[in-house]
């Protein structure tokens, strides 16, 4: 059992921040790793990126957008409530050594896991530029945190309510043209990461992505998270989650993420009906 020590609404109406007690996980976790949680006896196991690691405090931070049954249930949890299972740290840490000038590209609430990653790059001696995109200013999260660990921050919004008007790849291309980079790291929804990889490809800059595949165990046992990387099949859980974005079969990944769309909807609707939510 893992107590929720802190919970806040990060971005209305549905993105939440949680600080969870998990001393053993926090003692071992490194930037870029993830955990698998299960809320209760009948719950599913879902992978969540680490948005913060505090070994001294024995806590980890998680950011969750309530888009389905499990995340909806999580949104209903309060400070002091408990999460039944937290398994981790899983996956390999992000390689942060000798990265040179690094551009972090974060889309949506994918910005959150970039925070510990950027911090680790910075501590390893990299210069960090963060490029954050959102539809509008009110949807932007983790801006202060990213400023804390970045040498430069570029913000794009679709409506121009903050930073430059446009999408994240516009700012990314501009930055690559004007200043260049040794490494680009992208975290976010698969279509966003795919777009980032297409944007960086002409520049020939190494582009690392953190893949969010469907998983059960997270230990290499089920093979559900398999993804084509170049001409090889890899498991996102034990071979990743970080991969060379220019080698990822994005369409294959995006297709596999849709495997349970119908069931996810069924489960969410049934749950909302039970709880009189619309």
């Amino acid at each position: 059992m893992h107590k929720i020590l802190e919970k806040k609404l990060l971005r209305p109406p549905d993105v939440f921040f949680y600080k969870v007690s998990a001393p053993q996980v926090a003692a071992k976790a490194k930037a870029g790793q993830f955990v698998i949680i299960r809320l209760h006896e009948k719950g599913e196991r879902i992978p969540l990126s680490l948005a913060g690691i505090d070994p001294a405090g024995g806590t980890i931070s998680l950011i969750v957008m309530a888009v389905g049954k499990t995340t909806g249930e999580m949104a209903a949890l309060k400070e002091g409530d408990e999460i039944r299972d937290v398994c981790g740290p899983l996956g390999n840490p992000t390689h942060t050594e000798n990265a040179g000038r690094v551009i972090l590209a974060g889309g949506g609430f994918g910005i959150a896991p970039l925070y510990p990653i950027g911090k680790a790059f910075r501590e390893a001696g990299s210069r960090v530029v963060s490029v954050m995109g959102a539809r509008s200013k009110s949807l932007l999260i983790y801006e202060k945190e990213m400023r804390d660990i970045s040498d430069k921050v570029l913000i794009t919004t679709d409506d121009g309510s903050a930073g430059m008007k446009g999408i994240i790849t516009d700012a990314l291309k501009g930055e690559l043209e004007s200043c260049g980079a040794d490494t680009v790291m992208a975290v976010g929804p698969a279509p966003m990461m795919k777009a980032v990889c297409e944007a960086t490809r002409p520049f020939g800059v190494k582009t690392i992505v953190s893949l969010n595949a469907i998983m059960i165990d997270g230990t290499g046992m089920c093979g559900g998270c398999r993804v084509r990387i170049g001409d090889k099949t890899k498991f996102a859980c034990i071979d990743g989650p970080d991969f060379d974005g220019h080698l990822v079969d994005w369409d294959g990944l995006i297709n596999r993420q849709k495997m349970y769309k119908a069931e996810e909807k069924e489960s969410f609707e049934a749950w909302k009906k039970r709880h009189n939510l619309s």
Binding site: Q24, V25, K28, R38, K42, G43, E44, R45, K69, T70, R84, D85, V86, C87, G88, P89, L90, I216, D217, G218, T219, G220, M221, C222, G223, G224, R226, V227, R228, T233, I238, D249, G252, N255, R256, K258, M259, Y260, E263, E264, E266, S267, A270
Partner: protein
């Protein structure tokens, strides 16, 4: 003077066991075999010849004193029969259900030369179930604490056996399990209809009552390295199994609707996907399912797909039915439940439409000369290509060694990913580190893993005793 018993006429057939009607059970997850009644058990036990040379015992990987426990059953003393079995086998309720008896005890039974062998597995199961129903479960009194601490990594058959033996000897055992539920393959792999999970849970509870501490969600290699384990414990047993699923490497394996057997069974058993949406984890079968492979895992997957509501389930195996590695009883049960068998058939391609499986393309095989395994080598027949329309494909073609723990264990000598260990003691290249089960031998049986766990426990006990001196 004792009453002279007349020699009974030996029944050449084994006593039949009650089973769920195939037409019903193919759609439910209740256990297939209902087990013997006490009368049936005694009747079957009385078929044992009690032969002197005991070939059955030699055929058992953990040397259960079979004629002795059967003799106790004949005299109606089921408690004693259970005690005798348990002296050699920690998990009789499990082994009675899942051991490949036809290759072990029953395969060696003298009676089997002319008639049907004694149904040893069913008798073992009866005793274990009888014990569970009648009175408190036997929790052995551990020896006085030795002050020694042992880590057991993995809570499957080898780990359970090793932990049990070590705890009984007075050592303090901590068990690490990566999943949220202990039991390993007994929990996530073998389906409810063949091994009810309450049996596994009861065995795990016995360990807890003996003082074994079980840490779930503890992925060794991630939350703790082998080096750190050896810093905190006096010895370690590694029984992490061979959990990495293999795929065939044919086109289309990444389509939606293609599962590894591990994923398919884990979603169903561990996550209770068959109770979706009451339980949150979904599983998909569609109407037509092909299972690739011929072992117990393939049979379990195929029969699970049937129970999840598939109309047509086809087992696709590259050799002939005679070579099927699955337990004979499972093949028999599967046939009764309506599984289709496409033998001497090899999938060459999975055909998709809009990202989903639509069919598998196969080629017929002919069996040629014997290969190294003593089985006839299958070769594709030119021009025999054909398609099977399916919605779901389940790959049950074996597993490999998981690198999570071994990859971080410096100094641990491996052999193609598997741990190199002495087959008699489980001793590895690192002092105090022992290993057994599938992570040493590659995928094998529950009982052979238990045998390895027992041998390692003995060796660890000797090692710890020598340390003390």
């Amino acid at each position: 003077m004792a009453e002279e018993k007349k020699p009974k006429k030996l029944n050449p057939k084994r006593t039949a066991v009650q089973e769920q009607d195939p037409a019903l059970r193919r759609r439910n997850f209740e256990e297939v075999s209902l087990g013997y009644s006490a009368e049936e058990a005694v009747l079957e036990a009385s078929r044992c010849l009690g032969c002197r040379n005991k070939p059955c015992v030699a055929g058992c990987p953990v040397s259960v004193p079979i004629p002795e426990f059967i003799a106790a059953m004949v005299s109606g003393d089921f408690a004693e029969a259970y005690r005798i079995i348990r002296s050699a086998n920690v998990l009789p309720a499990v082994c009675g259900r899942v051991c490949p008896q036809e290759n072990q005890c029953e395969g060696a039974c003298t009676l089997g030369k002319k008639h049907e062998p004694v149904a040893i597995g069913r008798l073992e199961r009866f005793c274990a179930d009888w014990r569970m129903k009648n009175g408190a479960r036997a929790v052995p009194e551990p020896a006085a604490p030795t002050g020694m601490k042992v880590a057991v990594v993995g809570s499957g058959p080898s780990g359970i056996t090793c932990a049990y033996d070590l705890a009984r000897l007075g050592h303090k055992v901590t068990m690490l399990e990566a999943l949220h539920e202990p039991g390993g393959v007994l929990f996530y792999g073998i389906p409810e209809f063949r091994l009810p999970k309450k049996i596994v849970t009861a065995e795990i509870d016995t360990l807890r009552q003996m003082g074994v501490q079980i840490m779930t969600n503890a992925v060794a290699g991630k939350i703790i390295t082998l080096e750190e384990i050896m810093g905190r414990f006096d010895a370690c047993f590694i029984g992490v199994g061979a959990g990495l699923p293999r795929f065939m490497g044919i086109p289309g394996e990444d389509l939606n609707g293609v599962y590894s057997a591990n994923e398919f069974l884990t979603r169903t058993n561990l996550m209770r996907g068959y109770l979706f949406p009451e339980y949150d984890t979904p599983i998909r079968t569609g109407k037509r399912v092909a299972v690739i492979g011929g072992g117990n895992v393939a049979m379990d997957s195929a029969r699970t797909a049937m129970r999840l509501g598939a109309d047509e389930v086809t087992l696709v195996y590259r050799r002939s039915e005679a070579e099927l590695p699955a337990r004979a009883e499972e093949v028999h049960h599967g046939k009764e439940e309506g599984l289709r068998f496409e033998m001497c058939t090899l999938p060459t391609k999975i055909i998709g439409e809009d990202g989903w499986v639509k069919a598998i393309e196969c080629v017929r095989m002919e069996l040629c000369e014997m290969d190294q395994s003593g089985r006839r080598r299958p070769n594709p027949m030119a021009g025999s290509e054909f398609e099977i329309p399916v919605d779901t494909v389940i790959m049950a073609i074996g597993t490999g060694a998981n690198p999570l723990l071994t990859g971080t264990a410096t100094g641990l000598v491996l052999n193609r990913g598997y741990i190199q260990a002495d087959p008699e003691t489980g001793k590895t290249s690192i002092p105090g580190v022992y290993a057994g089960g599938d992570i040493v031998t590659g995928a094998a049986t529950v009982i052979s893993a238990m045998g390895a766990g027992r041998k390692a426990a003995r060796a660890i006990h000797e090692y710890l005793s020598s340390m003390k001196r």
